[in-house]
Structure formats: C-alpha cells, structure tokens
Amino acid sequence: MANKAYQRVYTKLEGITKATVSLRANGVSNDELAVVGGKLAQVVRTKGDLVTLQIFSGTEGIPTNAEVTFLGEPPTLKVSDQLSGRFFDAYGHPIDGGPEIDGEVRQIGGPSVNPYKRRQPSQLIPTGIAGIDLNNTLVSGQKIPFFADPDQPYNQVMADVALRADVDKIILGGMGLSNDDYLFFRNSFEAAGALDKIICFINTTENPPVERLLVPDMALTAAEYFAVDKNEKVLVLLTDMTLYADALSIVSNRMDQIPSKDSMPGSLYSDLAKIYEKAVQLPTEGSITIIAVTTLNDGDITHAIPDNTGYITEGQLFLRADTDTGKVIIDPFRSLSRLKQLVQNKKTREDHSQVMNASVRLYADAQNAKTKLENGFDLSDYDLRCLAYAKDYARELLAIDVNISITEMLDTAWKLFGKYFSPAETGIKQALIDKYWKA
C-alpha cells in the first residue's frame, strides 16, 4: 500500500461515522480503494465532489486531518498455484508466516458467468452422511447452506463434508470465526493430510466486522482461478454468512439507507445472490460448489437472512438436535437439495427417490403420532410402529455421525420398511417393492 509519487493526498475529512468517512475529492472512481490514516477503505458513494468511503477496519482513532490516498482500483487478489495450502486475512495477506504470493492481479467481485455458458450440474458429491446423500443429495456446482442454531456443530459437519468430498481444492472463507474454530479447521485439515489442497481466507472475531465483506469475494476469486483457468473441481466453504450480512447492515446503516425487514439493507437479496451465484458447473470439467453456514436465531428461518438465503441457494441443510436419540440430525422436513433429482436414480440406484420419499413420509407420520402422544391420546398399532421406526431411522440414517455408501443407505431404509411396515403402507411403486422388499 505504499504511496505512489503522482497520487494526490487529501488531509481534510468532512464527516466521520463508525464505518465511513467523507471528504471532498475529485476524479475518484466508484468501488475504488483508498488508504485513510493508514487504514484500507473503499469508495461507496460520490455526490458532486463529496466522496464517502467505507473503512474496513472501523474509524476508531481516525482524525479529521488523516491522510487520504486513492489507489485507483478496486480490491484485488494475486492468483497463482502458490495459493494452495496457504492461510490469508480478508485482504489476501498471508497470516501463516509464509511469503507473499506471486501471481496475476485480479479484481475481486468480478462479472458473472453468462448463464448460457453454464452446464447442468450432474456430478454427485457423496458425503457418507445419509441425511445428505439419501435425502438431500449434493451435486457439484450447487450452492447450499447449513441452517443451524449457534450451538450446533455446523463447522465440524462442514469440515467432514469437505474432507470426504472428492474435489481438487477446498477454499474456506471464514467470517467472524472464533479463534478456536479457526484452529479447529486448521487442525482437521492438517490431520487429514489435506493441507496442500486447502486455501483459507480468515476473518476472526478479533478482526473488525466490516473486513468480513471482502472474505467471500476473495475466496471466490481464488475459486474462479482454479475452476476456470485450471479446470479444477473447487469446493468453497463460507462460514458464517449471518455475520457477513450483519456487516452489510452496519455499513448501510451508517450510510443512512432505509432498512427493510429485520434492519437489513433493501439490497440484501442481490448482495447475497452475487456471492452464491458464483457456484457454477463450467463446460470444461471445472466447477465451483459452495457450502455455507447461516446461523439462525432459535431456528427462526423467517428472519431476513435465512429467508433471502433460502430463495437464492439450491436448498438448505437443517441441523437439529433429535430428542429421541440424543443425536444431531439433518432434519428431513426442513432440509432440501434442489438439484438432487439430477443425480438420484441416475447416478444412484433406481429406487433412490421413492425410498427417500417413503421414508420421510413415514417419519412425518411418526411426528403426528408423537403429537397425539403428547396430547394424551391412545396410540394405534400403526402409530407405535411409526414411532419405533422413527427412532431407528434417526439413529441409523439421519444422524450426522453416519458414514456409509448410498447403496448401504438404501438397503438400510428397505430393512426398516420391512421391519415395521407392510408394502402398501410405504406407497412405493409395485415394481420396486417386488425387487427390493426385505420381509
């Protein structure tokens, strides 16, 4: 960030808020970076010669006579193979003690892929977790978040999924990670011997919140380099997008914008979509798959952040503690993978979708039976069978600690059907019953 000879230096700020400063300056371009009193900032508004800058690390200690230098370009990242195995901060500077990266300078947050140049995602990503593979199968090029309360082990599940997935690169964008979680990711990647295919952009809770706004774009610029230029399969992990959205609302609030629902900026949908839509299956082998985390407030998915996310992403994976088995499960009702039908019965066995639907429907019947039980009514024989089935189903298939192949999952489901139900009660096509029913 050294000053260059011809750059004009301004030294008079007109206004300062917690996240922004404004000053009079000419020839400034939109989205351009600047250094304000040694801190990195970005142009967010110009009105005549009045320029408003967003200061990533907060305005604490910035005096009205701070030096302001404009850098003439938006945020960039140097991309090359040297990125592999490295840990960076939100600005793309190494935090692992290693050397700076050499490579081509690319603007982050670049243009979108022409939709017509995309290909339909069709490659299954097996995770060994039945709550995902059986009920909500993942496909490369998909974007999907975990919806979880803060007390759920979402980062652990995400690390498991990442390490089991067959991909060339795993890029972690950590926003507001606790230092412990950052070290957890680091250790589990190291323990799995996967460090050479990992790239991390980390903003921890110790860093200023507005810096987080750079993290997804940094991670995705690196992802696009490997997917587009190198034809690699890239998996991007973004955690926690709720903290990202909170940072957006801080900035928009300081800019006096009228908030919409839940004090989020009116542009929240577009802001999130710009990130998630970077997920893509390219005509070459390259792809970007995004798995994110959106933490919820007590399971409330009507809040603007999960709500807008749900409309953008291709489904969601809902983590919930199951009281019957004491395990964390992937909730089959609220979870969904929108791309699952692209691989189910095609890349997996022919009975996959019917088994999935039947097992979830029976699990729903068990929930009804449970309600009856709680209301103090007698249970029918069918209710009792449903309840018993639900317990087995949660333990053997929905729990996140399951790690089996999809064929084993299907066989397990047929085993449970045969144990508790008659073929008619499952409502599965006769042809499949004839072939797979286990009495």
Partner: protein, 580 residues
Amino acid sequence: MKTKGIVTGIVSNLVTVEVDGPVSENEICFITSEGVKMMAEVIKVNGKNASVQVFESTRGLRNGNEVEFEGRMLEATLGPGLLSSVYDGLQNDLTTMENVFLQRGEYTDPLNREKTWEFTPLAKPGDTVQAADWLGEVKEGWLPHKIMVPFSFEGSYKVKSVKEAGAYNVDTVIAVLTDASGADVPVTMVQKWPVKVAIKGYREKPRPDRIMETGVRVIDTMNPIAEGGTGFIPGPFGCGKTVLQHAIAKQGDADVIVMAACGERANEVVEIFTEFPELIDPHTGRHLMERTTIICNTSNMPVAAREASVYTAMTICEYYRAMGLKCLLLADSTSRWAQALREMSNRMEELPGADAFPVDLSAIISNFYSRAGMVVLNNGQRGAVTFIGTVSPAGGNLKEPVTESTKKAARCFYALEQNRADQKRYPAVGPLESYSKYLDYPEIVDYLNKTVEEGWVDKVLAAKNIVRRGREAAEQINILGDDGVPMSYHVNFWKSELVDFIILQQDGFDPVDSLCPMERQRFMLDLVLDICKKDFDFEDFEKCREFFKNLINELRQMNYSVYESDQFWAYNESVNKLIA
C-alpha cells in the same frame, strides 16, 4: 442533436447526471467509462439533474464521465427468430456472446440478420391496412409468424407493394405502404416497440371463455386458469414453485411460451435450456424449445435489468398474440422485480411504503397484470396472453406487500404451503386457500360443462367440499382423540385424504403421472367422487385407516400407469374389488 450530460454522483447503480438539454422519463442513455458504453435508464429528473439506473456494474465509473441520451425508451426488437432464443433482460442474445463471463457493455443483436425466412405475402397492393394488420407470413419452426404493419404506425395506410413469395432475411423490405399524406413507408420483418408500453392494435379484449390446460390436476381440475387469464403462485422457498412452473411450461397448451427468469437461480435457467430441446411438446409433437423464448436475468446479473426483463418478456408475448397465437408468460419471480424497484427507490431516498417498498408498487403490479388477456384482433381472429407469476413472500408470510398487491391483480391464486411441502405432498398447492375466480365465470362454467362433462364444475366443488369436511374432521380428531369421535369423522377424514393423494398430489418427476390430460383428470375425479359417495362403516378406526390406505395405494398405482393400459385397468379392477 442528442442531449448530452456529465456524471455528477454515484451510489451503487444509481447515477446522477447533469444534462444540457431535454430528457424524458424512462429515456435510455449510454455512459462512457474507460472506453466502455453502459446502458442506463432515466428514472427521475430534478432540474438539470437526471437520476439514471445503470443496467451494468458501475465499478470504475467516475464523476465527469460523459453521457449521451438516445431520445427513446427501452425497446424490444421484434421479428422472426425470437423463438428458441435465450436473452438477457435487455434482450441481448446470450448464445452469441463468446466469453464465459458477461462483459460489461457487450450488447448483442436479438435477431439473426443473415438467416433467411420463407416469406408468403398475405396482403395485396391496394389494401387498406392499419397497425398490427398482417402483410405476410414466414414459417418460424411450425408456427406461422405474421409480418405485421408496425404497431407504432398511426392511422390507416394503403399497401403500395408487397414482396413476392421467396426467402429473405429480416431486414428485407417486404412491403411499401403509403400514408395519408402520400408518403411511402418501407416495412421490413423487424420492428421495435418500447417494452413498458402495452401493444394495442386489436379490436377488443373480451372476458376469457375457455381454460388453458396444464396437465396439472390441482390446476386444471381444482382451480383452472383461463386462456388469457392471470394467476400467481406465492410460496416460501422449498415449496416447489419452480418445479410447478416448469411443469406448466412443459405441458401448457400454448403456441408460444416465454419464460422470464427474473432474479432467480442461474441453474434453473440452465435446466430449461438443457432439458427443453430434448423434450417434446405433448400438444404438437414438436421440440419444446421451438415454442419457447427464455428471458433470463438471474439474481447475480445487474439489478436494474431485472425490472426490464419482465417487460421485455411481456412485449414478446403481446407481439405473438397479435399474430392470433396463444401465448403463455411465466415470470419467476415477480418479488425479485419488486425488490429491484425497492433498491432503486431506496437509493433515491424516496419516502418508503410498507416494508420499504415504493408506495406505487401495487399500481405497477396491477398495470403489468392487465397486459395479459384474450383479444379479438382486427381481422376477427383470437389471440391470448396467459400470465402466471410466482411470488416469493419474505418469511413465507403472505401478508406482505408484493403478495397482497398481486392478489388484487391476479384472478387465480395457487398458495403453496410449507406444511404440505414438509409432508412431501406435491404440488404443495393448498386446496382450500387457493382459488380460481374463473370458476365463477358463467362462460367458463359453460365451457367446462360442455368440453369435460355435464355437471363438471359441481363435481369440482363437491371435491373441494370433501377436503374441507376432512380438515374439520382432522381438527376434531386432534382435539378429541381417535376414540373420542364418531366413526363418521374418521371416514370423512380419509375421504379427504383420498382426494388429496389421488387428485391433488401429482408426481412431477414421474414420466406418466406428471402430465395428466383433461380426459384422464375427468376419469380419476369421477372415480374418486364415486368412492366418496359411498357410505362406509368400520368396526374401529384402525380398520378404516387400513382400508383407505390400501385403496389409496391402488389408486396411486393407477396414476403411475399409462392411461387405459392393461396395467391401468388391472389396478382399477382391484379398486373396484376393494370398494365392492
């Protein structure tokens, strides 16, 4: 002389321009930044300052950039070759762009100017014609694509000459008209029309009098949509909005389908142009893509062009309607369009209405829905634009401005319900909350009773009543317990489950069940109603449940079997045995 201007302020994609001459509301201008020309539209003028929304990323734009105004509004280019195209919201052809990434300021021609079309004249010299009258036609796929007197022509014209039959490209002058002052006006196969203005040029817009088949039982049977009608599908995410819309697009009985992917997922658009070229239109046996135009402004594409995309799509539909064709417009999702309006209104620091949406949201939505409709053309033929929009209510709560405004404008309401989706009861259209106002139209009732069967509408209402009674029974059973209610409650509940599983639910991914023609819908509803008319008595509710579960299972197998196949009749036979 074109009006020029200079950029004086930038907030995201809202740019303030100081102008040196007259500008009009919605006028198009180009901002030059770093050698790239970016399109923008005037949305507010205040003294010498025009606020323009830029249809591109404004990164790198700076004060002092030059702006040139075009003296026209945003226009669609209309002519042969629109079908099977994939456009962005500004009608740029996405298929002819070379880069993987969309380049700022790259605008491509919507029509292929070299391709030739077999032209046949329809008018002859000496004819008196007016805007929208047919001068000739070319074959676009299997559709007769009429070459019309441009919609912008006022008054009447005399045909001076028409090109003889032959193969010409779209820019060929195919007719010369003489206006009232005696001046000659050449007409090619291409015309332009401002997208925010409705295309008129028809004699009248009567009430719709027939339905448009979709092959989806919960629509055609329970809540039919009229040809030239309007409907909307609100629902929380994950309730199957898109799957339902795609089903309608694949199966809808229309000549032309325009799908506007407005601020939605790019992969959904990819699904359309991957699958449609392979799929066959069940009504004509032709490839689906031949009758489909895709307008796609996905959620990561510039916000301002999102608003333009629905208007561009509607204009293309109106253009084909003027040829006497049945068009279907599907827009997914109109909420994203409303959000685009909100973003701009917010940046202009306008006083907000409910949920920070602009106060005129309701007027904008109803104005747009009013562009649909069945029309009688000047030559007496019929054309129709049927419009179905989806709405993505925030938090799944239907009491929000976009849903409420749309409810006032659209005649059919297909409410997707979270709890039905949770139970995998797809399509998750709520049976009691949803409605079609067309079932109140005497013309439509007449039409259905004549074309489906005598007394059909009464049967539909009877089926709805069974569902309503079933819900009441279910509530009583929940409160009083299985043993606490008379057997008739259980029977009523299970009869409604029968209607639910066999008529309302449909497997959109099953090759047979996904498309259910009207004749088959009639057969199944008759069968289910016959069963429901019977009195059943059981020893206990367990027996009742078991009986109906078996019955439902057999009937479902019928839905999965090819209509009137041996298998179909075999399952029908076992149903008859069960109820004997």
